[in-house]
């Protein structure tokens, strides 16, 4: 095992002695993630602010004079430029204006709107109509419609109903009281349960991918692998040394990604995170341990898979093209769990490597992981990782693979 230790140290040294390598592998991705999410956050806030500040351009057609004081008192006019139309405009004209976004909303009251309401006596009598014309593809138009509906039409309807019935309580037969009983950690965990398995799968594999190709195919290409194979240590020790160093480096890379995302998420979410506290989840020690064990086994499998592909490839370019389909499979396996929260899964599904691990991580987030699920998921991945390691060691013994002989 001494040989594996020496190779392990050398592989770590390769990265940590080189400032450029440290920057490009660990610092730059963090900066990019934080920068990217912050930029998205800034853009979202700018968009929201812009909509809030925008003075809606609203045309109201044929509004009964009786409602003028109600509209003025509603506060809608404070951030809206309202034009009361006295004569009707054609459908073609206002459709064009709304599509061109020269106006945000057209409200059209039917003729004798107020009189029809006032003369209502019994069921079957005419109910007048007010039509809202707006553009769902235009954010200003949607905002104007939403504000007009909530600030004017709905309160106006309440008031007119009160006038008609005298007391609105007559419409209420019973009350519905909501008493929500929830485990907040579990509720908050559901958000993470959707996102985290995919993110962990993705991040661990990306870390392994970038380093694995250079450590195996790169060495073959540079002619430095043969020098290593000429030493008296076992080939399995070379493989173990390389895989364990790659696992450590990939884990560091994944931790950097995770920390960057934890920093970046609130930046992007802004006000949303302060309201919901979606990211504030308390974990038990056992949950953290289970997550760590699964992640360690996963990262070992990933570096093993990348190393296996890299061993068979003759050039780094060839290795990269072989790894791409593997990358897609891993991502899809991680994504499959994103929209399956809450569904009961049969135990055998936990034995499917990568997918089973994602399921297990999902259950850890919602504190629902059973011992059987944990054991099956970890054991199957571990067995596959060991088989992959044996396959790499065998490949290292093959002159055909190592020397194209």
């Amino acid at each position: 095992m001494n040989g594996a230790k020496i190779i392990f140290k050398k592989e770590l040294r390769r990265i940590f002695q080189d400032k450029k390598m440290i920057f490009s592998l660990f610092i730059l991705p963090g900066i990019i993630i934080i920068g990217m999410y912050s930029l998205i956050g800034v853009m979202i806030h700018q968009m929201v602010d812009d909509i809030k500040k925008h003075e809606s351009i609203v045309y109201i057609q044929n509004m009964p004079k009786e409602y003028e004081s109600f509209v003025k008192a509603s506060g809608f006019l404070e951030n809206a430029k309202v034009t009361f139309l006295t004569k009707e405009i054609s459908a073609k004209d206002y459709e064009e204006m709304i599509l061109e976004e020269s106006i945000d909303l057209l409200v059209s009251f039917e003729d004798s709107f107020h009189n029809t309401i006032a003369s209502y006596e019994k069921s079957g009598d005419t109910i007048p109509k007010v039509t809202l014309y707006y553009n769902t593809a235009a954010k200003y138009s949607q905002e104007a419609e939403s504000k007009f509906r909530s600030m004017i039409l709905e309160p106006l309807q309440q008031q007119l109903l009160t006038n008609r019935l005298g007391n609105l309580e007559i419409l209420q037969v019973f009350q519905i009281a909501d008493k929500v009983i929830v485990d907040e950690d579990k509720q908050n965990g559901q958000f993470l349960a959707m996102l985290l398995p995919y993110m962990i799968t993705f991040m661990l594999f990306v870390g392994a991918m970038s380093l694995g190709v250079d450590a195996i195919t790169g060495e073959k290409e540079r002619g430095t692998m043969a020098k290593l194979l000429l030493t008296p240590i076992k080939r399995s020790e070379i493989v173990l040394g390389k895989l364990s160093s790659l696992a450590v480096l990939s884990s560091i890379s994944a931790v950097v990604y995770a920390i960057s995302m934890i920093i970046a998420m609130p930046m992007m979410a802004g006000d949303i995170s302060s309201e919901g506290g979606a990211l504030s989840v308390r974990f038990e020690v056992t949950q953290i341990l289970a997550l760590l064990i699964i992640m360690i086994i996963m990262v070992y499998l990933y570096v093993g898979l990348v190393a296996l592909v890299s061993t068979f490839a003759k050039t780094a370019k060839e290795a990269s093209s072989y790894i791409s389909p593997l990358y897609i499979i891993i991502i899809v396996a991680g994504m499959l769990t994103m929209y399956q929260g809450g569904l009961e899964k049969p135990l055998y599904q936990y034995a499917i490597p990568v997918y089973g691990n994602s399921l297990a991580i999902q259950n850890i987030m919602t504190n629902e992981l059973t011992l059987a699920q944990f054991c099956i998921s970890s054991f199957s991945t571990l067995v596959l990782a060991i088989l992959v390691t044996i396959a790499i060691a065998k490949a290292f013994n093959s002159e055909k693979i190592m020397f194209n002989a």
Binding site: K10, R13, T224, A226, K227, L230, K234, E399
Partner: protein, 258 residues
């Protein structure tokens, strides 16, 4: 001591290799029934044109390739069954096998010495001696990629000797080197010979073989066509120098094959 007995190495060609070689044959015989013996305290030279099979023989001796037929014993150890023991006592260097360019020569020396189980004290002593001899000391902390071609080759030679091997195998040791560096390498090989080590080299530079080798084996198209000291070869071929001897053997071989 190296004992090669009836070594045959056959490669299975891939479709791509068949296209490159413009052949319909699926197998290529790189060495055919080669036997030779090299003893401690001598420099044995394998001579032959490009593609003759010299490198394949040396790779088989160094345990990187397995013989298809025949066997090789290095200091009494079989290269297939006891490859670890063989690798402990040999050093193998070719132009294709390089040092990791991202590390310094000093680090590489210690790294490979450690993998061979050399103690730190012994390693430092050997490094100082070898680096001083080859003039690497002023550049020992520079990354290999920052060194000149000659210095890289000298560093590779020094590193390959880090574990004080009893047998040194060099595939074209002076190829691509300037005359000064080439001379320092050949001089060092003579030093190693004086220390009682067995050196086996492959080359196609006849003058180098004449000056350096105690015994020579000429390989043509995978077959050993002659073996002996320089005088023995010249006597048998009735020529005046090794180059003439080589061409004589080459023409005779081709006539026989035709």
């Amino acid at each position: 001591m190296i004992e090669i007995n009836h070594l045959t190495k056959i490669y299975k060609l891939t479709k791509r290799q068949m296209r490159q070689l413009k052949t319909k044959e699926t197998l290529k015989c790189a060495t055919d029934n080669v036997s030779l013996t090299a003893k401690p305290g001598e420099i044995y030279g394998l001579l032959g044109p490009n593609g003759a099979g010299k490198t394949t023989i040396l790779r088989c001796v160094a345990t990187l390739l397995k013989p298809t037929k025949g066997s090789i014993k290095v200091n009494g150890f079989d290269t297939v069954m006891q490859s670890k023991k063989v690798r402990e006592c040999i050093s193998f260097l070719t132009n294709e096998i390089k040092l990791d360019p991202q590390f310094s020569a000093k680090y590489m020396f210690h790294f490979f010495a450690n993998l061979h189980g050399v103690s730190e004290r012994e390693c430092t002593e050997r490094r100082e001696k070898l680096f001083n001899y080859f003039g690497i000391t002023p550049f020992q902390d520079k990354k290999i990629e920052e060194l000149s071609t000659g210095m890289k080759q000298k560093a590779a030679i020094a590193v390959s000797l880090a574990h004080d091997p009893k047998i040194v195998i060099f595939d074209e040791p002076t190829s691509g080197l300037d005359i000064v560096t080439a001379r320092s390498v050949t001089e060092y090989l003579k030093e190693l010979k004086k220390e009682g080590k067995l050196i086996i080299i492959s080359t196609h530079i006849m003058s180098e073989a004449e000056k350096l080798c105690d015994r020579i084996g000429i390989i043509i198209e995978g077959r050993k066509v002659i073996e002996g000291t320089l005088s023995e070869i010249l006597k048998e071929t009735k020529t005046n120098d090794l180059e003439d001897a080589f061409f004589e053997l080459y023409q005779t071989y081709n006539k026989e094959e035709a």
